[in-house]
Point group: C2
Chain length 210, copies 2
């Protein structure tokens, strides 16, 4: 039987981490999960995909803020048993999907605290992709059409959102090296270089355990 | 002319990062600097190597503490122009040595904020080696003869010392992925695996810039 491969990829905005994951999955001939997890969460819960997209990779707001903004799914304002914010519901659903996907098949999973959710499995490789600010700004302008005069601010905002999300749900520090087995700078290596490095990691790890 | 290679290695205590650096330097046929930098600092300053060793990779203490412990080299208690603490003197000397070594030759430099000291050079590869706590404890017991009942405490103490030293002199966070181009978990890869991964990195980076 071929070795099972589960690779999670955390990534700074504009580092090309999603693309690294996609190309890696293609190269290895295994499944790729990014926004696909939201689709699955929507299907399984019968909730709207659009509603989930709005709170994807966003930490839950405070209780009062959630009530004020109507961010409750099934808010029960009469009973003292208030429902969970949509963010928390999505996190729980995504966690279940990520766990069941990892049981079922080899795959690459991008973002969504997958490294933390799968921390009890011993067969997971956790990767973090980052890049220089200059390279990330350029990618945001070229690939995502962000206006040049707004890119710095946008970058900081998304970084803040992702780190808050990760730190909130895991209690760990997003992007801190010890949370991952491999961290790579894509501005030095390029997308293909990162893919090759993860393939080398799989090879070296397998050589060590033989 | 062969490509110049300057590789800095930051490392958690017990991760085997020093050994990775030594084996890498051997494999590449380039110089290796770890405690050798203290020897050079002692030679160049005419100071005692033992005195330097005591404060190596240790952040400067507060002024009062330094005076109390006699940690001043040429403390002038009469003049208001007090001298620098020994830690700071060593840091400055090491910085000068690291910079001149990097100008002179290809090399691997372990610890001592070399990544930060050489940050203005574009031809440096900064690596951070970490490992699981279990693996680090075992290495500390097996390789450094630390008593099993004291190893946990010892590990935490050295980690704290190294991170305080790095954060104090660089203003950056020790072990945070974005300070390095490559971070590796040696408990998953082994020492040889880490050496191979750094060699792969050099290859991929060179392939990208061609």
């Amino acid at each position: 039987m071929k070795q099972k491969l589960i690779i999670t990829i955390g990534r700074q905005y504009g580092s090309g981490g999603r693309l690294v994951g996609k190309k890696l999955a293609e190269a290895l001939g295994i499944s790729f999960y990014n926004r696909e997890i939201i689709e699955l969460a929507a299907q399984q819960s019968g909730m709207s995909e659009e509603a989930f997209e709005k709170v994807d990779e966003t930490a839950a707001s405070s209780l009062l803020y959630s009530i004020a903004t109507g961010a409750y799914m099934f808010g029960n304002y009469v009973s003292p048993q208030v429902d969970l914010p949509l963010n928390d519901k999505l996190f729980i659903l995504q966690s279940e999907i990520i766990k069941s996907v990892a049981i079922k098949e080899s795959c690459v999973i991008v973002g969504r605290c997958a490294d933390y959710i799968l921390k009890d499995r011993k067969d997971v490789i956790n990767v973090f992709i980052h890049a220089s600010k200059e390279a990330r700004k350029q990618r945001a302008i070229d690939e995502y059409g962000i206006a040049a005069n707004k890119v710095e601010n946008y970058l900081n905002k998304i970084d803040k959102k992702r780190s808050t999300y990760y730190n909130y749900y895991t209690g760990e520090k997003w992007g801190y090296s010890t949370n991952y087995q491999l961290c790579l700078d894509s501005s030095v290596l390029g997308i293909e270089g990162c893919v090759h490095m993860i393939e080398s990691f799989i090879h070296e790890q397998s050589a060590k355990t033989k």
